[in-house]
């Protein structure tokens, strides 16, 4: 009997905290998304679904969402392509300095987000390091303009920021593949590529999916890189949310966009979780 009280007492502070400062705020923006606002953004308590119907009728909102999704796919795919050789190398080729190399991928994971965006800004600028280097060496005569303030710079920066997020689960998945299996494949005469393609990648798929989803979801929620490195054509769905809560000041609309974004992300997470489990069970069946 006493233990019952103990356990509830242990979780009570956390539960209360999360209720007040996390669950209720979410409930509140869900409510707010069904309210209206006047021309100066003052919220009016008048129930309606205008914000949602606007989302699906004004191309501003749904095309931005689709374009963000597209860029997120590009970022996630690039991250996966960069992570595979890295994870493969550390998991299967390195024996001695594994921990050090692993720490090497983990470390940039913790490097300040804003500082990394800043670094790309000074690297890619018109008079930046890359342009001045290329002109110094003589590769180009004029600075390349597309490098900064474009979708290109946004993608580069996001790939740079999220690659460690992707590499870690892929590495973990590769590490779990029994080395004997890889050896066996090679003993049976399969080349490195065949082994990679037929054995390692299928078995590492759960890690690839979970890493890719990380990058996808994080890109969808990013709003600072587009602001700092994007050009006149760069607008992410998160920027719309950010603006609706700031410069354009329409909180109900902003809440609706945020809620729809959330729903899309939950679907993505659910689907990828499902896929992960599917391929994970294939893995356990196979041996």
């Amino acid at each position: 009997m006493k233990e019952v009280f103990v356990k509830y007492r242990l979780v009570l502070p956390l539960s209360l905290w999360l209720l007040i400062f996390l669950v209720l705020p979410y409930v509140f923006i869900l409510t707010q998304s069904f309210l209206a606002s006047d021309n100066f953004g003052q919220v009016i308590y008048d129930f309606n679904i205008d914000s949602y119907s606007k989302f699906f009728t004004n191309s501003l909102y749904y095309t931005t969402l689709l374009r963000t999704l597209f860029i997120a796919v590009v970022v996630a795919t690039t991250c996966v392509f960069l992570s595979i050789p890295l994870a493969y190398f550390i998991a299967f080729r390195v024996k001695k300095y594994k921990t050090i190399l692993y720490a090497l991928i983990v470390l940039p994971f913790w490097m300040s987000y804003i500082v990394r965006a800043y670094a790309w800004k000074i690297i890619l600028g018109q008079n930046g390091i890359l342009n001045s280097f290329m002109m110094y060496v003589g590769i180009t005569e004029e600075p390349l303009e597309f490098l900064l303030y474009s979708n290109f710079s946004v993608v580069i920066c996001l790939v740079h920021i999220f690659t460690p997020f992707v590499a870690i689960p892929i590495y973990t998945a590769f590490e779990q593949i029994p080395k004997a299996l890889v050896e066996a494949s090679k003993d049976l005469g399969a080349g490195s590529w065949t082994t990679l393609w037929k054995v390692i990648l299928p078995l590492g798929l759960p890690g690839i999916i979970s890493g890719g989803t990380f990058a996808l979801v994080l890109t969808m929620g990013d709003f600072l890189t587009p602001v700092l490195l994007g050009g006149p054509d760069t607008l992410f769905i998160s920027n719309i949310v950010q603006n609706l809560f700031g410069t354009s000041n329409d909180k109900p609309m902003g809440s609706a966009v945020g809620i729809l974004m959330l729903i899309l992300i939950l679907i993505l997470l659910e689907y990828s979780g499902h896929m992960e489990r599917k391929y994970a069970s294939f893995k356990s069946k196979s041996y």
């Binding site: 953004g41 501003l60 008079n127």
Partner: protein, 366 residues
């Protein structure tokens, strides 16, 4: 051991926090020295809390003046709506939202009798009725100026006469405009909508908005970046990313001090302009100190310093005697009608939400 250290540090931090709070509570008394240790928080456009003119106020009252900059009128409104009163004491709204702040009850009236420079302030600005309610005045005229064409005179030798130069293929990717709905006003001017009635820009029909939007989309290939703050624009010029932009006088002022050759002009289609006031936020913890700031900054010698930092036109013409001849010319202080004849001053936009949406649509268009 480390843990203990951390807990010790944490408790220090908590003590520190509570001390700070106590400091700001007892500022309601009237004696000068009682303000000691208080912080006057000003939420304003860039340059309005520059240390060149905050220093002597800080020294006189033993307080700190802290400026937080906002990047658009809507950002200001949004910050005040989400409980700004407890965070800020003074705001500097422009003519497009000043009336709203009064109507929405977000600001308190000012007391002209306690503002020593009040009688000398430009009557034209003082007599505007948009910030008067029930016979009380809610704002002190502060500065005004244009959103005009700023260009790098080393690259563009001849003074541009028309906004059309923004569309010149020669300058593709070399133009910057402000990340703000005022671009819609500008395109309205470029399209000649305000020829008969200046207020058309602020009350466009859907058709007119569509025209302005199409024009802004045409402009997109020419653009390098939408600048969000004056400082960002300065940098775009400095790094050679752009050669012309829509900007405020503070940009040539800042850059020319750094040895650049930046000029500005009001093209033949005209330019929009803004009138900024200082207002006291409702529920300000330092209302009295805020009133003292208004008094301080209204004085000619201090207004002159504001002009020096920003090269905006200032509300007190008596400041002229504290300004260099060049600065007097730049700020039209002896010809206060000049801007009033040449600029279309921002007005409240009844359909502001739609304007904001159109502006996002422009950014979204490919």
């Amino acid at each position: 051991m480390k843990m203990y250290l951390k807990i010790a540090l944490a408790s220090c931090a908590i003590v520190f926090f509570s001390c700070e709070k106590r400091g700001s509570e007892n500022t309601n008394t009237k004696e000068k020295k009682d303000f000691k240790g208080a912080t006057l928080n000003i939420l304003c456009w860039e340059g309005y809390a520059d240390e060149q003119f905050t220093k002597s106020f800080e020294e006189e009252f033993g307080v700190k003046v802290k400026g937080t900059y906002f990047g658009s009128s809507d950002e200001l409104v949004s910050k005040l709506q989400s409980g700004g009163g407890s965070s800020y004491d003074i705001v500097s709204p422009s003519s497009d939202v000043a009336g709203y702040l009064v109507k929405a009850g977000l600001v308190d009236p000012v007391d002209p009798s306690k503002i020593s420079g009040w009688d000398n302030l430009s009557p034209l600005l003082k007599n505007m009725q948009d910030v008067v309610k029930d016979g009380q005045v809610y704002g002190m005229p502060f500065t005004w100026g244009p959103d005009y064409l700023v260009y790098n005179a080393d690259v563009i030798q001849d003074e541009p006469t028309s906004w059309d130069i923004f569309f010149d293929p020669q300058y593709r990717g070399k133009v910057a405009i402000w990340d703000d709905i005022s671009n819609i006003y500008l395109m309205g001017q470029v399209l000649g909508m305000d020829k008969e009635d200046p207020s058309v820009l602020y009350n466009m029909t859907e058709d007119q908005l569509a025209l302005a939007k199409a024009k802004l989309i045409d402009l997109k290939p020419q653009l390098r970046k939408y600048w969000a703050t004056a400082g960002e624009l300065d940098n775009l010029f400095k790094n050679g990313e752009v050669v012309m932009a829509v900007g405020w006088p503070i940009t040539p002022a800042t850059l020319n001090r750094q040895g650049m050759n930046i000029k500005s002009t009001i093209p033949k289609e005209g330019a929009t302009g803004w009138i900024d006031r200082l207002m006291i936020v409702k529920g300000s913890e330092n209302a009295e100190l805020a009133q003292l700031w208004l008094d301080y900054i209204s004085k000619p010698q201090n207004m002159a310093k504001v002009a020096e930092v920003t090269t905006y036109s200032i509300a007190n013409p008596n400041a002229a005697k504290h300004m260099s001849e060049e600065l007097q010319k730049l700020t039209y202080i002896n010809d206060m009608d000049y801007y009033h004849e040449n600029l279309n001053f921002w007005q409240p936009v009844p359909n502001r939400k739609r304007y904001n949406e159109v502006w996002s649509e422009v950014k979204n268009a490919n």
